[in-house]
Amino acid sequence: MTAPSSSGSPGRATPLLAQIWAVIALPLISILLALLVGAFVILASQLVLPGGNLDLLLPLTAYAALFQGAFGNFDALVDTLISTTPLVLGGLSVGLAFKAGLFNIGAQGQFLLGALGAVAAGVALAGAPPLVAITVALAAGILAGAFWGFIPGLLKAVSGAHEVVVTIMLNYIAIAVIAAVVGGPLRQQGRPEAITPDVGNAALPVIIGNDGHAGIALAIVAVAVVAFLLFRTTLGFEIRIVGANPDAARYAGMRPRALTILTMSIAGALAGLAGAVVVLGVTHLMTPSFGTTVGFDSIAVALLGRTNPVGIVAAAFLFGALRAGASLMQIKAGIPVELIDVLQATILLFLVANPVLRRAFRLRGVKAGLETTETITKTYAGEVAPR
């Protein structure tokens, strides 16, 4: 760790390096510490469980398999990119809401609804020309997700119901909606199990390797669009001001209520696009138990990526790699994939406890990048957003 020499103010000898260090120091330390905690969990769980003998090298075996599964060869790398794609979109969704002082825990439900919308349109247009089928299916996914984000936005703006509780409830309702629709109207005839037909021509074309679908490119476009929206448009400016200081925004003539609804809808659209990309690019059909970890991973991505579009891509790549490598880790080392959730929570824990880390590692001048989350708790529980 070269911290002491370069942690000074950015104006010193190596301003660029110092600036980069200031941005990545805390995430990097958090990730390394989380891997240590993960190793401890692997070791400790051997002791707690009956009949387990202590294998001191198991954490290394597990992490080696994890790395191999994520980057071991070209196919593994493509798998990592495929897992990264929905996380980029989900991370943008949660990150955009954070910018406006809103906490979108509902990315999970918006993802599911987006996937459902895309599969419904895709099945209906399975025989249409690919360009039409894909465009309409993606649009259906975006709209379905946007609708699922619009509901908590509207309720917050009109009645003050906090989006955290409402979006969590909507996540559970989304599960029921999918089970009902896939088991009912969308069910493929003549199959014993409930499953939708294939999306046919609405499937995204493969652009890299064996199954690297076009959604990967779509995610990159989305990053550029969201970055442009946030930093180059009036709407983006207003979103950031409302998030940073709702009172100032109101005095400046902005309308926090309308912005709340709009931001949640856009966030829902992004998460819905993530769901659409997964069904159209990876699964091509849907079962009633269609589930995902994308929604909650996205929260971690947005926080680790400092709610900044570029940071979100890096964070999504990290968690995409963890998700892609997890199955090989489970096969080779017998470590359940839930270890990834533990790692994720631990990374966030260290990130949030950054004042402690800064003291422990004597870091000066480095940023935590969590400032944008500060207004979330302020609007908690029933404060009606000002007009």
Binding site: V164, I173, A300, D341, A345, Y380, V384
Partner: protein
């Protein structure tokens, strides 16, 4: 009388409403114990919320505390049964293993709460982010361990059994079914009403309650009159952890006798909604929890023994998933309807920083 009822039932459109009312009158006394059972984890989660937020700490990690306690209680039972055996030592099918396991589950809730307290009170992190971290960690860790353990599928210490009130009590006209609701229960569900009443009295009538509320409304003023804000907040969050853990333990040690991954299914968050609807008072939160759980119990009742007539035709034509989603829908609708008029403690969610000594 029957003629009048039949006449009301046969009115077009409005008749369905009368049929619904008739169905409710018929079925609610029968399912009343189920209503309290469904309300128990929600009410305990809501009590945790009231305990924390009255002192100014937002806790959305309740769900995580519950799933942790559910797992720890069940798995402690698995480990303790070979040592302590399963001989009953008291009412409710209590065995030593079961009671000790419950104690361990409650302790685990306090430990998780301590993490939230430290992050939100001492580190002064965003309290909602802190709660989210606790949820992700708790679901990850319990899922991870459960996957490792599921290979051996061990037997736990069983579950607390229900008390069966004598027929003479439950057959009392008019109030019999209410007594049945509170008595035809296991120890945790039965204790909820006691906890609610004690908590309500202490919160509004004791020195501790006054101090807690002062810290949640105006911490600076509380500090000025000599109340240790940090200490009160820590204490309340830790006690809140006991409530949430009891709600979690209920799921794996009384409602069922095993642990399933993700078995809390949002009850911690429904508890938070109950707290808001109940205006941050224990009795109000308990009432809201009963309201929410009625929808669950009623949904199940419709699923398994639908009413007859037009109403039954309408209700059975809906997909089953409508009833699965019912508690969540009811929560959103009631929350959106009531929340603007329900005012949180003024310092809720705001970290407190002592003024410099000099």
């Amino acid at each position: 009388m029957d003629g009048l009822i039949n006449a009301l039932y046969s009115i077009p459109v409005a008749g369905v409403l009368f049929q619904l009312a008739g169905y409710l009158v018929n079925v609610v006394p029968d399912i009343s114990p189920l209503i309290l059972q469904a309300a128990t984890p929600i009410a305990l989660a809501a009590l945790c919320g009231v305990m924390c937020e009255r002192a100014g700490v937002v806790n959305i990690g309740i769900e995580g505390i519950m799933i942790t306690a559910a797992f720890v209680g069940w798995y402690s039972g698995v480990l303790l049964v070979p040592v302590l055996g399963t001989t009953a030592i008291g009412p409710f099918g209590m065995s030593l293993a079961l009671v000790v396991a419950l104690g361990v589950a409650l302790a685990s809730g306090v430990v998780i709460s301590a993490l939230h307290a430290w992050l939100s009170i001492s580190v002064r992190a965003d309290q909602i982010i802190s709660g989210t971290i606790i949820n992700i960690a708790a679901f990850g860790l319990t899922g991870y361990l459960n996957n490792l353990i599921a290979k051996t599928s061990p037997n736990g210490a069983g579950a607390f059994t229900q008390f069966r009130p004598p027929r003479e009590v439950t057959d009392i006209p008019v109030i019999g079914w209410i007594l049945n609701m509170f008595l035809n229960q296991g120890p945790i569900a039965m204790s909820v009403i006691v906890l609610v009443v004690i908590f309500q009295i202490l919160l509004f009538r004791s020195r501790w309650g006054l101090r807690s509320r002062a810290v949640g409304e105006h911490p600076r003023a509380a500090e000025t009159v000599g109340i240790d804000v940090i200490r009160v907040r820590y204490r309340n969050v830790l006690i809140g952890g006991v409530f949430a853990a009891l709600g979690g333990a209920y799921l794996s040690m009384e409602a069922t006798n095993s642990f399933q991954q993700g078995m809390t299914t949002g009850r911690g968050f429904i508890g938070l909604a109950a707290m808001i609807v109940g205006r941050w008072s224990p009795v109000g939160a308990f009432g809201a929890a009963l309201l929410f759980s009625s929808s669950t119990a009623l949904g199940n009742s419709i699923k398994f023994s639908p009413p007859s007539g037009d109403l039954g035709t309408i209700l059975t034509s809906l997909p089953d998933q409508v009833y699965d989603a019912l508690p969540y829908l009811v929560t959103i609708v009631i929350l959106a309807g009531v929340v603007g008029r329900s005012i949180p403690p003024a310092a809720d969610g705001q970290a407190y920083e002592r003024e410099a000594a000099t």
